[in-house]
Symmetry: none
Subunit: 224 residues, 2 copies
């Protein structure tokens, strides 16, 4: 996996290079902002941008990238560049690291950011499939034992959220926030009603999964 490192300090490249290769990454080293932009082939998985660089600053590069892609970006800032730090995040960087840093820290953050962004992509995409049940958020369809089940949008969204993290308990508030949006003002008991209807439509008898209530906490989709 290729990681683009843009920094004018050779020491940074050397230090990160050792640790990145040890973790199976393939560092691509550039020394200024313009080179960074040129080096951005589609096989780059993530890029680390120093803010202070000759040519184009890290901030400019970050802006440039964000115009066309969601490529994960980690900013490097020297101590004292407080302002830049914030700007970096506002520009859409995924993380920032303050110099001086330990190479291990950087690698840990890189892995964390990659994990995050990969998870996001996975959760957006494909249909969920369980024993006798499929949930496809793209076409808003649910099938049970091969037969299509007519579900309302809210029902599908709740089911999808629960089923994309089997075993994990979601509180009613978490469900409201994710499915309804943060500005929903209503009762948490609304969730109960939807769960009831989902259960009524989805007879999971003998299929090895079910929607469980965790008393005092919330609901979870459980697979045996």
């Amino acid at each position: 996996m290729k990681i683009l490192i843009a920094d004018d300090d050779k020491v940074v490249h050397e230090a990160l290079g050792i640790y990145l290769r040890a973790e199976g990454f393939e560092p691509v080293n550039v020394y200024d902002g313009n080179a960074a932009i040129e080096a951005l082939t589609p096989d780059i998985a993530l890029c680390v941008l120093d803010i202070m660089m000759p040519g184009k600053s890290g901030i400019e590069v970050c802006k440039e990238i964000r115009k066309t892609s969601h490529l994960p970006i980690i900013m490097l800032t020297a101590k004292g560049e407080e302002v830049d730090r914030i700007i970096g995040l506002e520009l859409g960087a995924d993380d920032y690291i303050v110099k001086p840093f330990s190479p291990r820290e950087v690698v840990a953050r890189i892995k964390a950011v990659l994990r995050r962004t990969q998870e996001q992509q996975e959760s957006d995409n494909s249909a969920l499939v369980f024993n006798g049940l499929t949930i496809d958020l793209k076409s808003y369809t649910v099938t049970l034992r091969g037969e299509p089940v007519v579900c309302t949008p809210k029902e599908i969204e709740i089911l999808h959220m629960l089923a994309s993290n089997p075993g994990q308990v979601f509180t009613r508030e978490q469900l409201l926030n994710r499915v309804w949006g943060y500005d929903f003002a209503g009762e948490t008991r609304t969730v109960d009603t939807h769960i009831k209807r989902i259960r009524a439509k989805l007879d999971s008898e003998g299929l090895g999964w079910s929607i469980k209530t965790i008393y005092g906490v919330g609901y979870k989709f459980e697979v045996e």
Copy 2:
């Protein structure tokens, strides 16, 4: 997501409130240290503490919190209080911000700290595992010798708190504060009853761990 803001300056509350709400956070405003401690219910996700406050200083509040929890804390310090800055971080605060600050900066830092700590927790969150016992707070399940054990939320939370710090003694008050929330008014003996029930459900015979009573102090989860 609730953010506790403890500062004696009303202007700070107003400024941060606007930006926090815009980002979907729910600010909880208190004006002195004692109020901060009282307001610390378990649904607070992070707290911002001014160092100079009437009643209890931010430093004292921070110390108090750190006795029983890893709640993310951001300290606010007036310019020139360099010493406090260091003390703040030594006390276990997660970040510090020097006044005067821009509200945007504070919000950016809050998000950064939350992301960091959430990631940590995710890696911690993976179930606690002991010989023959697993405790998974994410799915609210406990298993003993492979068999699931039905536990109530309070039972799991107490067990989890004890088991995440094996060997450390927790007083009944500390357990009440963390599991019930700082505003719980009832008897400390309530804890005894829950411990009794946990013990009844978790027969640890020959598994090398147990919940021990420390006479006159509290309880601990002990591993041989």
